[in-house]
């Protein structure tokens, strides 16, 4: 189960981090002066860390022997 969840995360973020998802934010606009493309990449990156952290925490709670 853990392996499946983690694989899913990898596939999902491979998509989020690539064309064509990136092209949506590749418009030269900016939010508070910061280009949307940079904002998007770093936001997705943080999201990734939080998600993986949560999966690991949950799984290790359910299977304490894995920790």
């Amino acid at each position: 189960m853990k392996a499946q969840k983690l694989t899913l995360i990898s596939v999902l973020f491979l998509i989020l981090f690539n064309f064509p998802m990136l092209s949506i934010f590749n418009n030269g606009d900016s939010i508070n002066g910061i280009p949307t493309l940079y904002m998007y990449v770093f936001f997705v990156w943080i999201l990734f860390i939080v998600l993986v952290f949560n999966i690991i925490r949950k799984e290790s709670k359910e299977n304490p022997r894995d920790e």
């Binding site: 491979l14 590749n26 418009n27 860390i49 690991i56």
Partner: protein, 902 residues
């Protein structure tokens, strides 16, 4: 800044590294190993971030915008997959005692020495330039800082050759902490801890500079971006400008996904130095977090550099240093310099250790072991030989890197050379990933794939760099080899529109994978390849069994094995190791022919020292091996697995059975005891009833048989009959009472009572009896005792019982009974003390049992039913209180009962 300060700082920093490593090894000797900590593991993975990250990313961001992030996003995306891919590799390496990536590939494909050599060569060719650019980074960062000072002359030979001295110092460090133990499966704890420390230093240094640039020089992220957006050239860096950018982005992500596992230094820290597979859990989010943090300020720093140094010839690779220098921030400059220095040194140290193991185990040892002459020369000192080869290769690698730096690397930026190295190790992907998931993959496929792939890599990426340095004619790049258009290195087979790296990666990997698949599917694998394939692919099924079962058949002799091992481990240690193994597996070492398990074990031990391929050569040199088919291997593994699980379930069952038996036994014992108690009780009750009954009957008969008996005598007899009947009915009442208490049917009639009143009432009942025996009764009440809730009649019953016992056991005339109450901490203690015969210590606890005195008739004459104390105890327990006895024979007894009033 004064260059002397820089040198001192560098030397101090190296000394600090030595200190950390030394301290960590000492801790581990004390049993407080630091590498068992998952945070150290995650931090050591950050050896991925080299001087390229530290200096090069900023340079790359200036020219290609966000593209530099791809090499950090690739590993990020890969991290969750480590649970599937890398955990498997770690397990395989542990079971098979594999210590390098060359060993891994060679072992998977039938322990092929050729493959080991090929992988090692690719690694050296790919990684040497990468080490060289670290030296370059150290040297140029040094020059940038030193040049800013007036004292710097620039032509002093010593300063010019600084990288050389650094290289020497690093070799010493690597030799000391990298080759201390001959068995390379034993971990380099000092080295790993030092690397983790370096990871912290480079992160702190980069973040500090980033904060300085962004928030002190400029007014935050928004400010930098706004100012940059006014410059048209810089605006370009905000977005991907054409579709080619997206394609490069993808290929770079893909490339770094492979590199983060297969770079020799990554393989070293992530696999070989891994202590616990569960450390991956923390690393999976911690390592991406580290990469995120170290990259946050890259783009602001790049833009800031461009804004500050517009139209000046400052190399973007050095902005990280140049900005603090420009604002004359001496401490910050020094910190940044040390940060970059640590990024470069950590990479050099780990990479050289990994390469040196490969060179000794996969390049040199197989040659030495295959040659009879060389073997004779080094007989008895093979372990020294291995260590010396490693030491020599460490020095050689660092020196070669230095030479490369001097001759070629000067022409290229940090990132471009790093990417070429990434592409080299990416060639291992088909062989490794195929090797752990696909049993059909074979040696032929891996060998041709790797060979073709690395040739294309060389042609498309390395050759042009050699051309750039002037070693080959420029026409090769411009017109293709021999003037053939489609052989142009940067647009092979006419493929255009990709950047060089993506282009080289695409072609090399495509041919690599194609050859791997084609030859794997068309050529037959040898039996040993099959066997290794099964072990690698199904490692999680068999990892417990491989250790204990032998997948080897043939003839070998114990003395040969002993000799072979003592060559590497010394006589004493090898003998100990063999004896332990023999004991554990019940093998007879005295028999001439060696047990197959012993041979397998020896091979594994040797593999930890010299690699699987060399170990195999040595084993086959002392034994005559027979072929063993894959089916047999599987059946051997399966049967030992079945045996193991059958054993386990049997053990579990027998344990359960044992538990049930002992429970049953306990229950039975309790039953038997209660049964005996009941029997005793019945016997005693019957006996107690019979005594008065007998006397009643006897007396009645006398009266019946003698109608003319004296009236006085008759009255006396009848009086006794009445008394005995009373006794009988009292006894029966008590038995019924007790039964009520024991079955829990007895209910208390709770009201508010006063303990003094209870005692007075009880004394009144027995006053006559006491007076008859002239026994003095003293009452010492505690006037502070409060009223409390209890059943008055039942408590009177208890006191009367205790009092009447006291009267019974007191001598007439001299007897004295003291009744006292005490109120202490919410409890009322009532004691009744006499100066009678007392009770022997061994009976003091039994006295509250039913009919206790009945069992003890020889000691004391029965003077009562024997149920009084048992009933008293029940009553007090019903009030949640306690009753106990203190007594000494000849001095009297003191019964006390305590009832809580709260």
């Amino acid at each position: 800044m004064n260059s002397v300060i820089l040198v001192i700082a560098s030397v101090l920093y190296l000394a600090f590294l030595f200190g950390v490593a030394y301290w960590a090894e000492k801790q581990s000797e004390k049993g407080k190993s630091l590498v068992t900590n998952p945070y150290i593991y995650a931090l050591s993975l950050a050896v991925y971030c080299t001087a390229w990250t530290f200096y090069g990313s900023v340079g790359r961001a200036v020219t290609n915008g966000v593209e530099f992030l791809a090499v950090f996003i690739g590993p990020t995306i890969m991290m969750p997959m480590w649970w599937i891919v890398l955990r498997k590799i770690i397990r395989i390496c542990k079971v098979q005692r594999i210590t390098s990536i060359a060993d891994f590939i060679s072992s998977r494909y039938g322990k092929s020495a050729t493959l080991g050599v090929l992988v090692t060569v690719v690694c050296i060719a790919g990684i040497l330039p990468y080490i060289a650019i670290q030296l370059k980074a150290i040297s140029s960062s040094f020059l940038i800082v030193a040049r800013s000072s007036d004292e710097y002359k620039g032509n002093d030979l010593f300063w010019k050759d600084l990288p050389f001295y650094i290289a020497v110092a690093l070799s010493v460090f690597t030799i000391i902490f990298g080759t201390r133990k001959i068995d390379s499966t034993e971990r380099h704890e000092g080295m790993v801890t030092a690397i983790a420390a370096e990871s912290i230093i480079k992160l702190v240094a980069f973040l500090t500079t980033g904060v300085f640039v962004t928030y002190i020089v400029f007014d935050g992220f928004g400010d930098i971006f706004q100012k940059a957006s006014l410059v048209p050239d810089l605006r370009k860096a905000f977005v991907f400008n054409n579709d080619g950018d997206f394609s490069s982005w993808f290929w770079h992500i893909f490339l770094s996904m492979a590199a983060v596992m297969f770079l020799p230094r990554q393989f070293q820290v992530a696999v070989v130095e891994n202590v616990n597979e569960k450390h991956l859990n923390k690393a999976m989010w911690l390592f991406p977090l580290y990469m995120l943090l170290i990259n946050i300020f890259v783009i602001p720093t790049a833009l800031a550099g461009e804004l500050l140094f517009a139209n000046q010839s400052v190399n973007p690779d050095s902005y990280v240093l140049a900005i603090p220098l420009k604002f004359n921030q001496k401490i910050l400059t020094l910190l940044t310099y040390i940060g970059g220095f640590s990024a470069a040194t950590s990479m050099i140290i780990v990479e050289t250790i990994a390469l040196s193991v490969m060179i000794s185990n996969n390049l040199v040892m197989p040659i030495v072991l295959k040659s009879k002459k060389l073997q004779e020369t080094f007989k008895g000192s093979l372990s020294n030989l291995v260590n010396n080869i490693r030491r020599t290769s460490i020095v050689m690698i660092i020196l070669l890197a230095y030479l490369y730096y001097k001759t070629i690397a000067e022409h290229y930026s940090l990132v471009s050379i790093g990417m070429v190295s990434f592409t080299a190790v990416a060639q291992f992907t088909p062989a490794i990933i195929g090797g752990i998931f696909w049993k059909t993959g074979n040696r032929k496929g891996a060998l041709t794939g790797l060979m073709v792939g690395s040739l294309i890599w060389f042609y498309t990426l390395v050759l042009p760099s050699l051309v750039g340095a002037g070693y080959f004619p420029q026409s090769i790049v411009d017109n293709g080899l021999w003037g053939i258009e489609i052989l142009k290195p940067f647009s092979l087979f006419g493929l255009k529109g990709m950047d060089n790296i993506s282009h080289g990666l695409f072609w090399s990997l495509l041919f690599n994978l194609g050859c791997y698949l084609y030859f794997s599917l068309t050529r037959k694998a040898s039996s040993i390849e099959h066997n290794q394939a099964v072990i690698f692919v199904d490692i999680f099924e068999y990892s417990g069994q491989i250790e204990n079962s032998s997948i080897w058949r043939g003839t070998a002799y114990v003395p040969d094995i002993q000799l072979l091992l003592s060559n590497f481990f010394g006589e004493r240690r090898s003998e100990k190791v063999l004896r332990l193994f023999a004991q554990k597996n019940k093998i007879n070492l005295n028999s001439d022919k060696a047990d197959p398990r012993l041979v397998t074990y020896t091979e594994k031990l040797l593999a930890g020292v010299v690699g699987t391929a060399s170990a195999r050569i040595m084993i086959s040199s002392i034994s005559k091996e027979e072929k063993i088919s894959t089916e047999e291997v599987i059946s051997i593994l399966k049967s030992s697995q079945e045996l193991l699980s059958a054993n386990k379930s049997l053990r579990k069952k027998s344990f359960e059975l044992e538990k049930a038996t002992s429970e049953l036994k306990d229950a039975n014992e309790i039953l038997q005891r209660t049964d005996k108690l009941k029997d005793d009780f019945l016997t005693t009750v019957a006996h107690e009833i019979r005594t008065p009954l007998t006397s009643i009957r006897a007396l009645s008969e006398i009266v019946f048989d003698n109608p003319d008996m004296e009236i006085e005598e008759r009255e006396h007899f009848l009086g006794t009959v009445v008394k005995e009947s009373d006794r009988l009915s009292r006894l029966i009442n008590q038995v019924l009472d007790l039964e009520k208490y024991e079955s829990g049917k007895q209910k208390l009639n709770i009201e508010e009572v006063d303990i003094q009143e209870i005692i007075k009432d009880s004394v009144n009942t027995l006053y006559q009896q006491a007076k008859e025996k002239s026994i003095k009764i003293v009452f010492m009440p505690d006037r502070f005792a409060p009223r409390f809730e209890a059943d008055k009649d039942k408590l009177i019953q208890v006191v009367v019982n205790l009092l009447s016992n006291a009267i019974k056991f007191c001598q007439p005339e001299i007897g004295e009974i003291t009744i006292a109450t005490h109120y202490v901490e919410g409890c009322i203690y009532t004691s009744i003390q006499d100066n009678g015969v007392g009770i022997d210590k061994k009976f003091q606890r039994l006295i509250f049992d039913k009919f206790f005195q009945a069992e003890d008739q020889t000691v004391k004459k029965p003077r009562g039913s024997g149920l009084g104390l048992a009933i008293s105890k029940k009553i007090i327990e019903l009030h949640n209180g306690q009753i106990w006895l203190e007594s000494m024979v000849g001095r009297g007894s003191k019964f006390t009962f305590m009832i809580s009033v709260v």
